[in-house]
Amino acid sequence: MSERPQLFEDASGRHAVLLPFRLDQRIGEWEGLRTAMIRRCPEPFSREEWAYLVAFLDAANLRAPVNGAFGLPASQQGGACTAAYRPRGPVAVWLPSNVSLLGPLMLVLLSLSGNSLRLKAGSQATDLTAVFLEFARQHLPAGPLGEYLGRQVRLEQFGRDDPRNASMAAEAAARIVFGSDEAVQAVEALPHPVGSMLVAFSDHRSVAWIESAAAGDEALASLIRVFTIYGQAGCTSPSQVVLLEGRPEDALRIRDRLLDLWPRVVRHDPPAYLASENVMGRQHAAAVGWQAVLAPRNAAVLAAGAFDLPPPVGRLTLPIIPAPLAAAVANLPANLQTIGHVLEHPEDPAWLRLLAGTRAKRFVPLAAMHHFGPVWDGWEFWKQLFEVVPLC
């Protein structure tokens, strides 16, 4: 630890964070990378993914986990600290083949924790984390962040049966696993140090709850933007839209308004195979009872229906279901991640009471459904990457 303690304070007291680098400098280095990122979007990132990553590297956004965990910067003078925080130790991260932007976002957040990283990418696919890491290594000017990424971040690509999985687990103070429940269980079963922390980001689904009265064009455009990022493949994309206390005719009205808005919000065509899949999705949905239509240029399928219909298929098929609130709660996915909402009065305490009876990991405005942060899947994982040393 060559840096002197960095002091923060919140209502619980004054905290010393013991890191070998200056947090404000590291955040500044990440933010500075945006200049190069704006000039070029490397394959295979989509423009939307790259734009999200650029926005994520905003200094204010990167300060949020730090401030959320430790409070605001304190002056060097002042009273004694109540606790010191130091990096927990080596972190191992398992990223499966199709994992999304969560890989690069996690890399950025973990770099602020001062722990060395060993990341395993899927063996069969192009991995966004590897591409972003390479981009950062190439474009960062000489400095502590570049040095950290070069010396303390190790990214490897291998399969689930490779013995390196065991060596990763064996040396990790914290294990972060993205993947199916089976993949998480497999990592959990690998021998690991006593006290090694496991954070599992496993199979989850999200939903959108919309009150018809609040479903203006801005909210619907937001829904389109959020859904099209990963469609049904994204754990934070709305896998269905529930129109709270809505009627079937409301669902049709919203569906048709989404149709009108679609080409204004999404200005590029889907790839041919997805356009084709959407034709299939529309037909399948119609066949099993949904009132399904294709968005212009076969960009998506919008299907109005009910909870008791067989689920429609297709990566870009969005079910729209009118339902009373009680039915919306009763039909939440068992592996619920996020409820993205468009509500007239989201501040109403009644929503908090209702949340107490659900397994929702996040209850956020619709537009924020994909926003990744230091609290995820119910884990305050970023703060837990530090050991706490009480001082009084």
Partner: protein, 348 residues
């Protein structure tokens, strides 16, 4: 049904008769298949082929469609091979269609390999025949050659392992015959024969024999190992009599009985009881001379609405007469639509 089936497969056709028949067939399916009716609720007829309703090929992976009418007697379920680990398609076969489909494939195959009977060697295992109630696409394709076979021999001990060729059985057949018919899925034909290390005595026994190799099932697996049609052809025909041929058929399990052979000039031809459209994937507008998604049609599918199927295969319709002399709609098959990996949260 279908007077069209009485003509030679690639002879000139009465297009109006085809349109009339496929209109009638579409209306039958609308009457007898509720899910299909829900897909096309407002359809009542078309005055050109591009107005004929279709079912996207992917629907058959999720729904088992059946047309229930008094005269339709369903039999077995045909399943696709789903070689990429995907969900297989399932097609409800019926008695009358099966008979028509057999006639169809026989007429098309006879046109390509000649009418004479000869031993048929199938690169599959006999056990594949013994699944009650179901028949795989591989077996269905092989069995379409049965009327041209004087005897049938299954050459694989294990249907899943193309290296399990029973060489003794092959030796026995080769010793007794100069003309042979061999059928296999394209990649199996390569793995078991063309690209395999044939025993020296088998290679010697094959020298000078007249063999028609018939294959179908697509090139995806062979593209992965960089084997193109010319390499497959050269490997298979090495040392054989000059009359030997390699015949590549395109077909879908969702269009059973309809084969689209690759002619000497590099085009696929549709038989008179079938037709092909090409559609823009983003608008579904019919395309002539441009690349788009193939829509395959035939008038033989009575038990379920697989008479008009929009595929994920890319092709281009070519107008004018083919130098090979065959009539019928001709087109170029340009492979599957490129798929990108699904990106998400690892939960798909």
């Amino acid at each position: 049904m279908s007077d069209l089936l009485h003509a030679q497969p690639f002879a000139p056709r009465d297009d109006a008769a085809f349109l009339r028949e496929i209109n009638v067939l579409s209306l039958r399916h609308l009457a007898g298949c509720e899910p299909y009716r829900r897909m096309w609720p407002d359809w009542s007829g078309a005055d050109s082929l591009d107005g004929i309703p279709f079912v996207h090929v992917g629907v058959f992976k999720h729904l088992l469609l059946r047309t229930t009418l008094p005269e339709v007697r369903h039999q077995r379920i045909l399943t696709s091979s789903a070689t990429s680990g995907a969900v297989p398609s399932r097609i409800a076969l019926d008695q009358q269609s099966s008979a028509l489909q057999s006639q169809s494939s026989l007429a098309i195959l006879r046109e390509m390999v000649g009418p004479q009977l000869r031993p048929l060697l199938v690169l599959d295992a006999a056990e594949s025949l013994r699944r009650p109630g179901e028949v795989s696409a591989r077996i269905a394709a092989a069995m379409s050659l049965r009327p041209l076979a004087s005897q049938i021999h299954f050459l694989l001990a294990d249907a899943g392992d193309p290296r399990s060729v029973e060489w003794d059985r092959l030796r026995e057949v080769i010793r007794g015959h100069d003309d042979l018919l061999v059928y296999g899925f394209t990649w199996i034909l390569w793995a078991a024969w063309g690209g395999a290390d044939l025993p020296a005595d088998v290679r010697s026994l094959l020298r000078g024999k007249r063999i028609h190799f018939v294959h179908s099932g697509g090139w995806k697996k062979l593209e992965e190992v960089r084997v193109d049609p010319e390499r497959l052809r050269a490997a298979l025909l090495e040392g054989l009599a000059p009359q030997s041929r390699v015949i590549d058929f395109y077909g879908l399990v969702e269009q059973i009985g309809i084969l689209y052979p690759l002619c000497e000039c590099g085009f696929r031809h549709a038989a008179g009881w079938a037709d092909v459209l090409v559609r823009d994937p983003w608008t579904l507008r019919p395309l002539i001379g441009e690349v788009g998604a193939l829509q395959l049609m035939n008038v033989l599918a009575l038990g379920a609405p697989y008479h008009s199927v929009l595929t994920e295969d890319l092709g281009r319709r070519v107008e004018g007469d083919c130098p090979c002399g065959r009539g019928g709609r001709r087109f170029e098959l340009l492979g599957r639509m490129a798929q990108a990996e699904t990106r998400g949260c690892a939960n798909v």
